[in-house]
Amino acid sequence: MTAPATIAPVFENLPGLVDVGVMGPGGMPLAHTTRDSFETVVEMLRERGFAHLEFLTAQERSGEEPGVEMLYGFTRRADLTRVVLAVPLAEDDLEIETLSWLWPGAAVLEREVFDLFGVAFEGHPALKRIVLRDDFEGHPLRKSFELVEGGVTAEQVAKALESHGVAPTSLGADGGRQAYFDPFEHLAGGDPALKSQRMVINIGPQHPSTHGVLHVYLAIDGEQVVGAEPTQGYLHRCIEKLCETRTYKAMPAMLDRCDYVSAFHAELAYSLAMEELLGIESTPRADYLRVLMGELVRITSHHTWFAAAGLDTGALTPFLFAFIDRELILDFFEEVTGGRMMFNYIRPGGVKEDMPEGAADKIRGFLDTFTHRMDECEALLTGNEIFRLRTRGIGFLDPAEVEPWCITGPVARASGIDIDLRRDEPYAAYDRMKINVPLAYSGDTYDRYTVRVAEMREAGRLALEALNALEGIEGPHINPDVPRVIKPEAGTAAYGRVESPRGELGVLVISDGTDKPWRLKVRSPAMSNLHCAPVILQNTKVGDVVAVLGSVDIVMGEIDR
């Protein structure tokens, strides 16, 4: 297949391009290059405006030659052009230049590829495992990696560790993880006049307010934060690997478990990718049902964050106020989908089933009073003097850092970066709606708070609009043309992306012609947002760390997958 003509100028005069084609029926341009010219090609693409690194991942090469193929997705924000760059690596030489000097945020993504595929990155600041244990043997996403049937017992684990010369107890309390920066390097500093000494403290993973199992190494000089590094992997459940062992129809249930706070969005991103791959369309009614569910779950997700924002600053009541409202929405989800957290509702071609009798009226009653309910919640925090003291002017994020660190979503919007996929590249029924994107311009903790609160109100309005539109639309809730057994053409791929409450959530599906995906990659917005912690925590005090990190909205399930 050949790439569309409009994309030709992008690839003009690029040295070392092997061929230019498309990834699949969706028409996403795909260019192959060699390892030698890779660096030049990326730099030139960046100069041509492809400054947003959408995803960085790899897949096992499916052809004759064994090895790994690196996949880089770039976006040009100006005209929303996207390209994918593929670099094949031979089995005996799995090595490629790092991109972390152009995109500091690429460092963690490269660590993930190193961890799961075993690709080494030349010039990487600190290449080590990120989601798996440091002493783990093998790279699970390689097809040569053997899965143990029926799981493993504790004895087998102990035996395996012993055979590797690791006594189970020597792993220590942190399960064998170490900081990838040298914590003691930060100890050298200190104020000579005050004779102060620096100290490294661990926050988490068993700390009541790190939003799950987040672990942060914090280097402090007195009360001042001088260095921070988040570690992850405590909630890694091999979802991407498991997806390769399940059929396409089982995938939404797997992806629900990624971002368990807003499960609809991962389902939707996957369904969009599959619809592109199969060349089918969802029905108009399903489009609006997707918008309704997506916006409602955005509200519940932001409710959870709102509750945490209160608790992080020591206020108890916002937590309960937010959860009362959240329960009412969850009741609606339960009535429609049967689940309160894991919905398994949105699927390729449409949605599982339509709303039952009377459900729409119930949620309409809620949405009609939603503005008032938000006023009540906001009255507890927004104008509160102490809350303002705790959040205003603290934890700045410079908009210049947004692209290098691959930051998206409300965190970017609070720094004045005007991006929102719902408006820029509408999916589902968003092309038929008007979306206001709330922005703030000083990028501190308080701005991230106000942007999210404004988003909740906007989501309530959009949900009501979708509900009204649904009244006038008849028709099936799912496209009847969806095949019983989904087997996309071999060698095709598609990338579906949605605006989740945390940012741009993407699902990359690569098919090998069987009923199971060859590779499924989830682009986690929260992961990139979280790893900007060293930037965002500059010039903060220890007492602020929890409040500032909380304002990034961390969901460890999605970050670790």
Binding site: I201, T313, L389, E403, D544
Partner: protein
């Protein structure tokens, strides 16, 4: 005979303190519950009235864990040191005269002297637990209590100047006509703020800030030793509310109803207010707490002493007028401080970021 009377007095005092502590615990749970749109405990007894007893029984049945690295002796006696002053403070209360047959002319003095022992127990607990969260909690507590004790005592100085005595009974009797809260609203405000800090309540509950310090100084404590800290804290809530009642709300003065009813009504009104604050406010940061104590409350308390002196030499109405003016200025200043927090840094950042956004789009 005299010793028997004193012993009897001690037993009665302990019973009074414990009964009220239990009631305060129950009030806190129910009030917080209802303010947050839930019911609070409902299963144990009528509207969960027996909940504190159930809690106590549960704690008694727990294992008393002493961490391996702990400083054993200090770890063991710290809860006692923290708990004792909560009871001892009542020696200065006026009715000790009837019960135990002795009275202190310098009652207020004794109250603050004894109450100052509580942070020592907290510091010991934090130090001996061999846990960094406990240690930071203990240090915070000590620093906080010492900082807020100064403005608190200065705020009470005004009351003492008006009554001309440090004996609590005399102070209450001096309020028979007009309560001190009318005569000295500014002092009452300062006293209430410092009171919240002295008993580690929101928004000054930093020693046990669960989002930063897990549980603060009592992280490593379990079983009855934890219960002692727990009881001491709630006893302190009651004590401080009682003190506020005696100093500013006219104590047992009041029409129709017997004095003891008025006293309890007013005390529980203050307890209600303290819990209400907890349901409403977030927590300040540790450096903001210190700055507010030393740069805000201390000068304000000194101003209050000055105003009271002027009032004593002129007349009550001059005093009331000056106090109201001072109170209004204080409230305005604090509100404005919160409303404009970080404004300058935010404006700087917005200007800087506007430039870098232009750079990014160019």
């Amino acid at each position: 005979m005299r010793i028997l009377q004193i012993l009897f007095g001690i037993v009665v005092l302990i019973v009074i303190v414990l009964v009220n502590t239990i009631v305060v615990m129950w009030v806190e749970r129910k009030e917080l519950g209802h303010m947050q749109g839930r019911l609070g405990p409902m299963r144990t007894g009528w509207h969960g009235l027996m909940q504190p007893f159930a809690d106590a029984l549960k704690l008694l049945g727990k294992e008393d864990i002493i961490p391996a690295g702990a400083d054993r002796t200090i770890f063991l006696i710290a809860p006692l040191i923290a708990f004792t002053p909560a009871i001892l403070v009542y020696c200065a209360t006026p009715w000790v005269e009837q019960i135990a047959g002795f009275s202190f002319d310098s009652g207020i003095f004794l109250v603050f002297a004894v109450a100052a022992v509580f942070p020592v127990g907290v510091l010991m607990a934090g130090w001996s637990s061999h846990n960094k969260y406990s240690l930071i909690g203990g240090f915070r507590s000590a620093a906080q209590q010492i900082s807020y004790e100064v403005p608190m005592i200065l705020a009470v100085m005004g009351v003492v100047m008006l009554a001309g005595s440090m004996r609590l009974g005399t102070i209450v009797e001096s309020q028979a006509g007009l309560y001190n809260i009318i005569k000295q609203p500014f002092a009452a405000m300062l006293f209430f703020i410092t009171l919240l800090s002295e008993i580690n309540r929101t928004p000054f509950d930093l020693p046990e800030a669960e989002s930063e310090l897990v549980a603060g100084f009592n992280t490593e404590y379990s079983s009855m030793r934890f219960a002692l800290f727990f009881v001491a804290e709630y006893a302190n809530v009651f004590t401080m509310s009682l003190l506020a009642t005696l100093l500013f709300l006219g104590g047992w003065n009041g029409p129709l109803l017997p004095g003891i009813v008025w006293l309890l009504l007013k005390t529980y009104a203050v307890v209600f207010l303290i819990i209400w604050v907890r349901a409403t406010l977030p927590r300040v940061r540790v450096d903001q707490l210190m700055a507010f104590g030393w740069k805000g409350l201390l000068p304000a308390a000194l101003v209050n002493v000055l105003i009271t002196a002027v009032g004593v030499v002129t007349n009550t109405w001059v005093l009331v007028a000056l106090e109201f003016i001072a109170l209004s200025i204080f409230v305005w200043a604090v509100t404005r401080l919160g409303a404009t927090a970080g404004d300058k840094r935010r404006a700087d950042a917005t200007a800087r970021f506007a430039k870098s956004r232009e750079g990014a789009s160019a």
